[in-house]
Amino acid sequence: MISTQEIINKKPPFSSEKLEEVNRIIAKFPQGKEKSALIRILHIAEEEFGGWLSPETMDYVASLLNIQPIEVYEVATFYTMFNLEPTGKFVFEVCRTGPCMLVGSDNIIEHIKNRLGISKVGETSADGMFTLKTAECLGACGYGPMLQCGKQYHEHLTPEKVDALIEEYRQKYSSSKSQN
């Protein structure tokens, strides 16, 4: 079980290493146009601070770019990749659009629900490990059904592959825990 405390504890600021990365990103844009770096920095912030963008995180990002917090909120709420609420440790985003549906994405969504004991899309498993979401076309139409977890695409899914995947992520988490 992952405690909410564990997620809440991951707060700004960035480590000095991450700050360097952020500054490298900002430097890609002309002077006065630093806001262009916003979306990429939000991706990094989400990864660093518990997998979601808390108001505190967004305010911090605003301060890094010297822009108003509202400018960050309006962007974070527009783009569907950003989580504005805490999620499970791993987020499964299953593509549900036409080409994937033609090759059985509906069955995969049902299977994940049953397997994780989730009643509807958007919920998190009771152990706090997995959140199930659906996504619109992820550009893997020829290799469906598929899901994205973090940066990783998992394609040509079958119920058996999904089971193995869930197991794989569980083990990944317990081994990362034991290392800490």
């Binding site: 890609k28 619109e136 076309c137």
Partner: protein, 445 residues
Amino acid sequence: MGRKLLLEHVNVPGIETYDVYTKKGGYEALEKALKTMSPADVQEHVSKSGLKGRGGAGFPTGMKWSFLAKPDGVPRYLVCNADESEPGTFKDRYLMEKIPHLLIEGMILSSYALGANTSYIYIRGEYMFVLDILEKAIAEAYNNGWLGKNIKGSGYDLDLYVTPGGGAYICGEETALLESLEGKRGNPRMKPPFPAIKGLYGCPTVVNNVESIATVVPIINIGGEEYAKIGTEKSTGTKLISACGNLARPGVYEIELGLSVEEFIYGDDWCRGIANDKNIKALIPGGSSVPILPAHLITKTAAGETRYMSYESLSDGGFATGSMLGSGGFIVFDEDQCIVRNTWNFARFYSHESCGQCSPCREGTAWMEKVLYRLEHGQGTMRDIDLLADINKKIEGNTICPLGDAAAWPVAAAIRHFREEFEWHVTHPQKAIKSNYGLLKEPTL
């Protein structure tokens, strides 16, 4: 198999690295251009090649470039649209993942032609793993002197960066993309002014699709006139087609434009027919935004002529009996697929992806989704079918960007060609709830 200009070396091990790419002739086109051609020469080759934009709209690339304003002392930008999100389309991802240097070389060539000293590749956020591949390739290009100051002693400077989006289909529209690249919500801009006059940061900007930019490399290699000899008179060159749906062998293929649709679907070199030996029911040839074609209009046009994979042949018959080549997102439906369910699925997609700026699109796409949901789930009426057509007319042409049209056209085409199937859902409500247009297991109710 036809000529391959982009994917010729795609299966060479290590082609994603600079060393292997250069061993296979990589960066030769760029070297040739920097040593022997002026920017105007490069542009001339692209114009002569007849290349049409490969993102979906099919606008001639050379002409788009010629519109770029060049006021003194104002920077110009080239932005690569790698926000590939059109359902059925996954060709740009394939190209970037497999041969990233082809895009990088194309970016440098095109930036040189346009006189841009800073260029950006805007890639959809979900392709973050591809962004890593591109950044690695860009670093290699810098290390080998193809990027930075005074490239290979030519006096030309260029910096190239990749930047991700955050998951929004609308950012594939070029002005929405520019907004997003400026760190804002992806709301399309009113046009005019067009990006060629006022684009990124208010400066003249060209936005081109990944495949269009990559194609500049073979155009410079073989020459624009030579390129124009490939394909058909109106559809020159080769095109990447991402084939998906119920095919025996889905995937990304490079075709010479003008290949017959029949050969592409059934040929051994290509998709090898429909999966599980089923029959074909319908085809969406160019991404979810283009009209669907019923079985009898796929391999032949309404006039009974052979249908080819080309801009002109796929659109033969207009919207009444034709479709479009679009992005090359080739979606095949087998005989067991329900058209109402699919139309609803795509309507849900557009409703989800509407940016919400224009009321006809924001409200209309949501209404269409609701009405189609109702029909698909056995609660529709005959009036609903006409209502859909009515909503369509009220969206089409009444919005800032083409997303509204893209949402309206597929629904109109589905009703045009499969009206009976929509009516079946009304007359057989109980079956519609539980069965797939009575095509699979029909439950006894």
